[in-house]
Symmetry: C2
Subunit: 754 residues, 2 copies
């Protein structure tokens, strides 16, 4: 039973906002925060929102000083409608969790059913008791479809129940007038253009202020028992009122169907919205629940992850993976936002988080989704080229640091556009996908082109100096040091990118599939030679004295900040110190060189990696949620089992335990993928290289066992580690030579190592 | 005759805007752009403004991404009133330079009289001819006083002349709706609070929107001949109409008196405005002209600059010095803005320009003014300390990169707050003042305290690394490379600052004047030792291979940009390339290391300076107006006479020839000071060091001779160089041992070297 349940959850501000995130419903296309249908008291704050992945408006992003090429317009994900509103009146008394008496309350996320449930036993001020059960689902089977099943049962009376269900089109994104940091952002991005009611379905069509996109929301309320109903159009909204007489013990159910369609995917917007609503209504509700279950059954079966002996961690890991499938876009117009579809943090932007933290999970367990993520990057390739021109480059593609539709949104380039590594990350994810699938077709169709254009960027970005290829003025993953020369992570990744641009060319050439690539890129053998030379001569900083790879040319000459002296109220550093002050220290927000040592471990010997890990661990604050999972993986690699386990726990529990204190703004999707990686790449020691598949499964001493399942080439492989054995099973596909614990085996059916 | 005159000046947009700047009237307290009293046609743009030095409002400066400590509110100098308006109707026909026929037109700046003159001979559409002469003066004798003397003479008719003189309080700063870069800035900073008319004097009192400052403008129109007059209050304005009958050949004169007072200097604002107006009115107008002449006579006498044999350059040099005396603040509430009081460019902010480019002129020729500039820095010392805290420092004072009242206004810290050298520049200017004056009292009163607090900043900013004191993550004067480690200029200046903090302590101690300093700074012998050690161990980058001081640790490893390949339409680089792209090149906007080699020439041997000059010359675009004068000085030092002369010419002519194409936004005051320095420090070879006064006067071959006059300790010394001789005359004060052409002499009365 994959359930996450909280009982008697506190009704205070912080916990409600947190639960809005934790229990949100999403399917990768739409997401609905888990707001109370009936609302909170007026003095309480709520981030009430329904979002569509990849649906945005342009918003101005003024620069304090205007400089050439600086971003002055960003994209922002919109709250598109409020179809959550349901108010209940019990014999005239309005139901509220904050009035009368709440006799019991439970919130449950059912990760097999794909639904959330809020159960409340409530006694009204005048003493009438009702049971309220609210089930919600964002359908994986019909992406524009969101359902609320709202059940009311009079427990100790019979009487009139009035239900008021609203559909509001005139909505705005969250802003808090008490928080000067967000107040300036209040803006009506969405303008209601028309409101219609047809066959008791209300349709609200709206248009964005600047991006010229449209959204149509449709709502239909279906009541289980006949009553008196009335539908009223209001300013930017539609309200339906129902009045019925319900007997004691009788269950009154409202099925509230929402369809959200946008013009990005549905060019015939109003027709397609209607069609989707008809489809939703024409299928029995239980069938929708079954489809949901079936989708998730397959999802869980494909990753088959299980931790035995640590219930809370197992639950946390499943919670995290569930959020990934809720968050990931299922079409090439969308990707995975940093907060999924659970909130407005980072404005629905896509970052490198996808490629480096989440895509590996899909590459290993759900290839269609992974392929789609690559296709998204391919659809924005032209914007990446344009971005390279804005940054001054004469050739190549520079993927934007944060974006929705492809244009750069980062307003502070030292910690944004300067993170050139994102182009390397995109390239790396394509190579990873290829190595796991050997899918030449993807390389031919789009992958190799991206590899060539990103390789070209490095050539234009870097320069030879005293015989070595240098890359200056970039920012690595660690945003506590910006605009540096020869960031180790960037350089080693650029080297890999350059080499794989060449390799992909030869792979396609040998397969007779090269013509498209040449036509699209005009790549020549001469240019490929330049790639190879730059890769061979890539400068990778190494310090003899410490025996480590310095994060960049000057990292080691900076001051050391004794992290133990930082008071709690000064954390995270970025909220309490001027960026320039932080830059002046050897202090890292997150894994940077350590991450390089994970993804490209063969670039250095193990002793260097060991020393680097020890060095950087002392100076890393993990103020980024992308950090601890990587430290866990590399600790596993180095046999530092206690550290690996501790970092893993921090990663796994981040959102459920709200350890970064900002889960109210949305989940941390990258970390969720990182949790998975810490198991599979960390404890499991998985690597997929040109030389093949490597496994090195170790068991944390706190566990009885664990299991995961991956796709490799044409095979589906189950890896199970218990205290007694490591059992590797070929579930599907042809036999494989694999490397386990440093030895090569042929996996034909099952391999058991004691 | 020190006059700058243009005849038949073009009446097109660009030239009118340029002339508004070039012929502006200012006295260091107030400045009035040279707008036509009668205005331009509606379709023509004009920056119409009257400014008070140091009078500002706060304006929001939103950051695209909010980070800790980033500036979100700046100060901006305000256009405080429009008292320029005068319209003339000749028998009902309105005078305009753009209608009828302009038979002659001349604009003159008289730098001895301290006035500007516009003379027009105009024939109306109906054929009536008038002579119009408009003299303007910003009084040096009564700082709040601005005068327009407006003369009309009917040439070929007798008839009715109507004059309409306006006084407008409801004004705004310039913005151009067609220029998206400034459109966002349109804001009513000044709100009219009251309008009064008393004894035919109109008073308009206004208050700023946020800074809580007030300004009162007063206007009185005095006509030379009686006529029918009427004063009318309008919305935010007062208008006076005069109608009189003037005979052919008769001169009608309007004396329009303006008084501008602000609450920064005049706490009893309305009374003091009235008193100033009474004072202006009670003195005969010719006496005001005489006072103006006398003030300037003394000014010219004190610097006695003269170039013989090159009229245009001599005129340009005098023009530049005249602008300096027009621009420099005469009280501790103000300083010298980057554009003087001639326009709104850089929003009336004070930069390092003062200390490094303009203060030397005043230190050598007008000590009271120089002392006042130091006092201004002392009055904002507490803000500089606060700024250091904002930047994260536990101690010391970090002078803001750009400011009016003391708080940092730079919105882009990599090219703003990161320019820590400004604190060194302030320290340097105090030491320079001391060396020229031996004024211990100034050190005791404020100078030494600033030296101690700036020295403390370096201690907190830098760190020891492998035995040397490093300063990381700063930006030097050259803004084409930002956030670097060990900028040579910064480090060598910090070293000087640290040493002089110690020296000033000992100087005061030996003089028995130390108690104040200890009380104010709590400085200890131990801390002084730390200063000394850091100075001794200061890391100054030096490259063996090239034999130069690299601009910073990584300058030489960057790409070289062949400046000859940059097309004209891509200049200046900062307007056409993303800053990060520029940072990646060995390209300099301005002198940086070369400037260090001028101000602290003894830190390196001449050979290194020679190689550095040659190296940096190749990579410097001189996109900053602060560059060529320094190149001229160092070229002189190195005996590169042709280069020195060419760079000098570029500096001298910058505004008069509008070579940077932006003089319409205001003059370039720093460059004007730089022109002076290129003569006195460059051709004249002047240095004032602890070891005494050094001169090395060389004559550019294009000249017959030149002269300048300086104050040194108690002496006033005249230096005159002709082809035949170098004549050094002690005009006042005691005899001095001085060094001329590398030899030591005793200057008793006159020294002539052939």
């Amino acid at each position: 039973m994959l359930k996450y349940e909280i009982k008697d959850f506190p009704l205070d501000q912080d916990n409600l906002m947190l639960a809005e995130t934790l229990f949100h419903n999403a399917n990768g296309y739409l997401g609905v925060r888990s707001n109370f249908e009936e609302g909170y008291p007026k003095n309480m704050d709520s981030i009430r929102g329904e979002y569509i992945n990849g649906f945005y408006d342009f918003a101005s992003s003024p620069q304090a000083e205007k400089l050439c090429g600086l971003v002055e317009e960003k994209q922002t994900m919109l709250n598109v409608a409020d179809t959550q509103g349901i108010e209940i009146y019990i014999e005239g008394e309005r139901f509220s969790m904050f009035e009368g008496e709440v006799l019991g309350r439970t919130r449950t996320l059912d990760m097999e059913a794909g639904t959330t449930l809020r159960e409340v036993l409530w006694r009204s001020p005048k003493g009438k008791t009702v049971r309220i059960e609210i089930k919600r689902m964002a359908s994986f089977a019909l992406l524009p479809f969101f359902l609320i099943e709202y059940k009311v049962t009079p427990v100790d009376f019979s009487g009139e129940v009035k239900i008021c269900s609203t559909h509001i089109g005139k909505v705005m994104n969250y802003f808090n007038p008490n928080d000067p940091r967000v107040a300036g952002e209040s803006f009506e991005h969405l303008l209601v253009e028309s409101i219609e009611v047809n066959n008791d379905v209300s349709y609200i069509s709206s248009k964005t202020s600047k991006s010229d996109l449209c959204v149509c929301s449709a709502v239909k309320n279906v009541f289980s028992k006949e009553g008196k109903t009335e539908i009223v159009k209001e300013d930017g909204a539609v309200k339906e009122e129902y009045i019925g007489f319900i007997s004691q013990g009788e269950v009154l159910t409202l099925y509230k169907y929402t369809i959200l369609c946008d013009s990005v995917r549905y060019p015939n917007l109003s027709n397609e919205t209607k069609e989707n609503m008809e489809q939703a209504l024409s299928t029995d509700i239980n069938e929708w629940y079954e489809k949901q279950k079936a989708y998730l059954a397959s999802f869980w079966e494909n990753c088959a992850i299980d931790i035995v002996g640590k219930k809370d961690l197992n639950e946390a890991v499943h919670y995290n993976l569930y959020q990934l499938i809720q968050s990931v876009g299922k079409d090439p117009f969308s990707n995975i936002t940093a907060k999924g579809l659970s909130g407005e943090g980072y404005e629905g932007h896509y970052f490198w988080d996808t490629e480096m933290y989440m895509q590996p999970f899909f590459t290993l367990t759900a290839r269609d989704i992974a392929k789609n993520l690559i296709r998204y990057r391919y659809t924005i390739l032209e914007y990446a080229k344009e971005n390279a021109r804005i940054l001054g480059h004469k050739k190549g593609a520079a993927y934007p640091w944060r974006t929705i539709m492809g244009k750069e949104c980062s307003g502070f380039f030292p910690a944004g556009s300067a993170q050139y590594h994102i182009s390397g990350d995109v390239a790396y994810s394509i190579v990873s996908y290829y190595l796991a699938t050997k899918d030449l077709e993807l390389l031919r169709g789009c992958g190799a082109q991206v590899l060539i254009e990103t390789a070209r960027l490095w050539m234009d970005l870097g320069n030879y100096y005293r015989g070595k290829f240098h890359i200056n003025e970039v920012t690595g993953p660690d945003e506590y040091t910006c605009l540096v020369n020869n960031n180790y992570y960037t350089n080693v990744l650029a080297q890999y990118n350059l080499r794989w641009a060449v390799k992909s060319f030869h792979l396609l050439k040998e397969a007779g599939l090269i013509s498209d690539l040449i036509e699209k890129t005009q790549i020549t053998e001469e240019e490929l030679k330049e790639f190879e030379e730059a890769a061979d001569k890539m400068y990778l900083p190494y310090d003899e004295e410490t025996g480590i790879n310095p994060q960049d040319d000057s990292f080691l000459q900076k001051k050391v900040w004794d992290l133990t002296t930082i008071p709690e109220d000064k954390k995270p550093l970025l909220l309490h110190y001027h960026p320039m002050y932080i830059y002046r220290y050897q202090v890292c927000k997150q894994a940077d060189t350590v991450l390089a040592h994970f993804i490209l471990e063969d670039a250095q010997d193990l002793e260097t990696i060991r020393k680097s890990f020890a060095y950087y661990e002392k100076v890393t604050t993990h103020d980024s949620s992308l950090s601890t999972c990587i430290y866990s993986i590399v600790a596993s690699r180095l046999g530092l089992e206690d550290k690996a386990y501790e970092y893993f726990g921090e990663s796994a529990k981040l959102d459920l335990f709200n350890t970064h204190k900002n889960t109210k703004d949305g989940i941390h999707t990258a970390n969720m993928g990182g949790t998975y990686m810490a198991i599979v790449y960390g404890f499991g020691g998985l690597r997929i290289k040109e030389e093949g598949l490597f496994l090195n499964p170790h068991l944390p001493k706190q566990w009885e066992g664990y299991q995961f399942r991956i796709l490799f080439e044409d095979a589906k492989i189950n890896v199970k580690r218990t205290q007694a054995e490591c059992r590797i099973t070929l579930l599907e596909g042809s036999k494989k030579n694999i490397h386990v614990y440093g030895k090569e085996y042929c996996l034909e059916k099952e391999l058991v190592i004691y």
